[in-house]
Amino acid sequence: MSLLIVKFEGSVLQKVRVNGAPITIGRGPDNSIAIDNLAVSSRHAQIKSEQGRLVIEDLDSLNGTFVNNQRVKRAALKGGDVVMVGKHSIYVDESDRGEAPVAEAKQSATLTKSVDETFVLDTEERRRLMQQIASTGERSQIAPSRVRVATLVRVQGPIDEAEYPLTGKLTVIGKSEMATVRLNGWFKPKVAAQINRRDDGYYLGRGDKAPTVNGSPISTPTLLKDGDLIEVCGVTLRFAIKE
């Protein structure tokens, strides 16, 4: 039995077992392999079994169907072939012996799983991808590596600590008892300013006061860079990425 493995940018999105019925490929959700991308026609191509061989047929799609980088109208497929539809690739695996786990067999039987249906990486695949991501993305502020910590360093002002590592999602500078940088004094606001850790970096936003970054007041949340000077309520802090 053959297995079709649908991939996008190196990740496996779907596995479909060929078991007699034609496999349709297209943008619409009613296709066996549904690819929600404008480069793909609503009914783009189909793969069926003919005398024990797999045959792919392009259904007059706008952007074409490619087998091993050759545009085809109709072609026989063998193990190891790569079909390209838009930016998605479909690998033909002939080595499959049909011993799939129940969940996968069920999935290919219904043949309705579309690309935008949520699914979760299994433990093994997750570990592999995370390692891959971690090894290529060292330079980020957010990468949860033990050696790089975003920190607020006291430059001047009446605050308790010399350094405040930013460990939480939301860091508050103010009089609030849950503030990371605790301000003391009668007229200090509960939240003078706050720093939010977004996926792409640390953003300083206003609280009851508008803080300045390197001397200029901010109106909207501002991405902090290593070395930026933050001033609010008479306290000056330096944002630093510490090794």
């Binding site: 990740s11 999105l13 969940a103 699914f119 433990t123 939301l170 609280g207």
Partner: protein, 270 residues
Amino acid sequence: MEWDVAACTDKGVVRPANEDSFRISRDRSLFVLSDGMGGAANGEVASAIAVEAVIATTHENGSSAAPGKSMPRPEFSAHANDLVRSIESANRQIYEQALRDAASRGMGATIVAARITGSRLALAHVGDSRAYLLRANVLEQLTADHSLVAEQVRHGLMTSQQAAASELQSVLTRALGMDAKVEIDADEIELLPKDSLLLCSDGLTRMVSETEIAGILEQAPNSQMAAERLVQRANECGGHDNITVIVIRDSGRSKGWFARFFPFWCSNIV
């Protein structure tokens, strides 16, 4: 602080069924939302187990450690640790159900749970359901999605704009029910007067931009209308997935020092 709370859920325009679930316990100020997955009827089974388990296993005063549970994290309050343990329990229940019943295999769910004690918010989540805080007209996401694209953004391999346009947004790195154990993110912050909180499934955030969400939360006169408008807007934008929102706003009815000292003068105001 007193909270004006409302929730709204809809299956959207495209999906045949609603696999989201939510539960609210007003007396504990506990809010739980879950987005199920796993096809057929199983997604809704998983999300229902998730929210029920969190409601059932969260304790009145935050609990002491029970045998077999993970160690409490010292940086968090008892309430936050209790929330984390209740999500562990939800994970176990979904996982065990899937082991028992072949038809349920592969089912899973996201979860986002919030509990407010006084002015302190404890938050815990797994997956790509989100919590947002609207403070001083700025909407900040309080949760970090456990998705492949978010992971790539955090490592500087992708911009958030690229992530929002990616076809791989549905690939999660964590969910409940996949394994006997799950890693849960938790956080605690202090809430302030005029804050609004939003818990939502990805059916909202995939369809409606954060700027627009902020606008709807600011303009709606109350939580009920905000919740309904958010769901309606997601459907207007395509409604590709189930949409569930819980809106929690400071009602502004908590008494200030003036009212506390002079209740007689203020009784007809508050």
